[in-house]
């Protein structure tokens, strides 16, 4: 999602150099879309953008890459969550419940004595 937004933003404003480097390195953001944030930079950007029409996302190779990433990431998200909850979490929950039942029975038996 972050990649999608960054790649489709007309301009990206950063407040310092490490942020600029991080965006370029981690999300392959084209350097020409990154600008230092300032009141002047904002107003220049708005004026420039107002003169352009919205980009055609559908024919954009980047839109395809983002859609691919989204379909894959969401697929893995459900896959690994299922693996975690059904193969690890639930059996542990059942073990805890069994342990609780044993302890409760033990305490009840003591009460009856």
């Amino acid at each position: 999602m972050i990649r999608f937004i960054l790649h489709h933003a007309a301009r990206i404003f950063v407040t310092n150099a490490p942020e600029r480097d991080a965006l370029a390195q981690n999300f392959e953001v084209p350097p020409q879309t990154i600008f230092d944030a300032s009141a002047e930079a904002y107003s220049n950007a708005y004026r420039a953008l107002a003169q352009n029409s919205a980009p055609d996302f559908l024919n954009d190779a980047c839109a395809i890459q983002c859609a691919e990433d989204a379909a894959i990431e969401l697929g893995w998200l459900t896959h690994f969550a299922d693996a975690h909850y059904y193969q690890t979490f639930t059996p542990r929950l059942e073990q805890d419940a069994a342990r609780a039942r044993v302890l409760q029975a033990e305490l009840l038996a003591q009460d009856r004595k």
């Binding site: 395809i64 805890d96 305490l107």
Partner: protein, 439 residues
């Protein structure tokens, strides 16, 4: 392009190293056949592998569709041709799949947020299935060639996904002659005692699991005394327990065997039964046929295409049908002609040639850029997965809440027990006794 200069990257299932199966046998044998023709083949799941040196990428098995989509995208971004061995069969026969196979979207109103509503689970399964099917459609449309194992599988793919016939190229598996070389005496040396002496028996070589329908076979054959032998790994512990609980004394579970030992078992058995809910390629039945076993085979596989009339077909959902097929196979004289018919039709050399010809055809064409439909399908997949995720989250939150509550209760119980133990200490007893005396 000559076969000698073809360089192919095979992408198997991600879990192929820990869970071997017929698909992997098929892949490895195909690779050997291609290498014998001079092609360079690499089997790898490594997504960081540099693809420049390969002519095309061959994806194997519609098992984990997200993994396959990832492999496809990896190849597409490197500008590579992609071909697919889908291993596809309709699954609507299987009762366990009824939620996934529902034709209509199950009704569930997330506004009510009732996590225990069975329709929530039904909707999650339905959404998963829809996402998987759109992914299959995307892959089948976008790849250069599709390799089903049988004409029957190819016809199902063409019909269910509206795929043009020229894109489908049937590449049947060859035979492994090792299974014709078994020695029944070696088997009896080990197993005569548990099986009650040397006698004809019925066997199944398959994993013991729900899809293989082990339980229905046991139930169908429980009224008989003829031994029923299962050879294979149990992959689902609860299911295996149920199988063992329902099995009569004549049912034997011999576990997993090496191919050589399995060949000996085929040589000793009279009938091989494979009553799975579905089978794409009934590998073990083919192996058993080489050892002259009579075959009882599920109707949900290309049995007639492979074995012709030399097998007895059963409906996996119907115990009487399974029993009748096994009984008829057992009562019939042992088949002798089928093995030679199979040898004529199925060889790995032929499989290798079919694949190599198809690869050359694919690489002679340019790699087409993704079209409008491709992007649309990706959006559909993401939307379906996102909706399924939202519904899952409901359940996960409920599980987390239950776990927190349970941990609190467990802590309380443990504290109580610790407190009682300390009260039971002799010193405490003496103090309490003293107090009582003083009072």
């Amino acid at each position: 392009m000559k076969t000698e200069s073809l360089r192919i990257l095979f992408r198997p299932r991600r879990n192929h190293l820990t869970l071997r199966g017929g698909d992997l046998v098929s892949l490895e044998q195909s690779v050997r056949a291609l290498q014998a023709l001079g092609a360079e083949c690499v089997i790898s799941n490594d997504l960081s592998l540099e693809l420049a040196r390969f002519d095309l990428v061959h994806l194997y098995t519609f098992e984990n569709l997200t993994a396959m989509l990832e492999d496809f995208v990896n190849a597409r971004r490197s500008g590579k041709h992609v071909v697919v061995t889908p291993i596809y069969w309709r699954r609507q026969y299987w009762d366990d799949m009824s939620e996934r196979n529902a034709v209509e979207r199950p009704n569930f109103d997330p506004a009510h947020m009732d996590v225990n509503d069975p329709s929530r689970r039904a909707l999650v399964h339905w959404l998963d299935e829809q996402a998987d099917r759109v992914t299959m459609q995307l892959l089948l449309d976008a790849c250069g060639k599709i390799f089903p194992f049988s004409e029957t599988e190819g016809a199902l793919i063409a019909e269910d996904f509206n795929i043009a016939g020229e894109k489908i190229c049937t590449a049947p598996d060859g035979l492994d002659e090792e299974f014709a070389q078994g020695d029944a005496n070696r088997f009896w040396e080990k197993y005569a005692a548990p099986l009650g002496g040397k006698r004809d028996f019925v066997m199944t070589a398959a994993r013991i699991e729900a899809q293989k329908n082990t339980l229905n076979v046991i139930r169908a054959w429980n009224s008989e005394t003829i031994p029923l032998v299962f050879i294979g790994r149990a992959t689902e512990p609860a299911y295996f327990e149920q199988c063992r609980a329902e099995a009569g004394a004549h049912v034997h579970f011999l576990g997993e065997m090496s191919p050589a030992d399995l060949a000996d078992a085929y040589a000793a058995a009279k009938v091989h039964v494979l009553a799975s809910w579905w089978e794409l390629m009934p590998h073990s039945a083919v192996e058993a046929a080489l050892a002259h076993c009579n075959l009882a085979v599920t109707q949900n596989c290309p049995a007639r295409e492979i074995f012709g009339d030399d097998c007895w077909i059963c409906d996996p959902s119907d115990g009487q049908s399974i029993h009748a097929a096994i009984r008829a196979a057992f009562d019939a004289p042992r088949q002798t002609q089928l093995a030679s018919h199979l040898r004529e039709r199925f060889t790995w050399e032929r499989t290798g040639k079919i694949l190599a010809d198809a690869y050359r055809q694919v690489v002679s064409q340019p790699v087409l850029p993704p079209n409008h439909l491709y992007l649309e399908r990706l959006h559909q997949i993401a939307a379906l997965r996102a909706e399924a995720w939202k519904l899952r989250e409901l359940h996960y939150h409920e599980l987390e809440a239950r776990a927190r509550e349970l941990r609190g209760w467990l802590r309380e119980l443990e504290n109580q027990r610790a407190a009682r133990k300390s009260l039971a200490h002799p010193l405490h007893f003496a103090r309490r006794w003293l107090k009582r005396v003083q009072a």
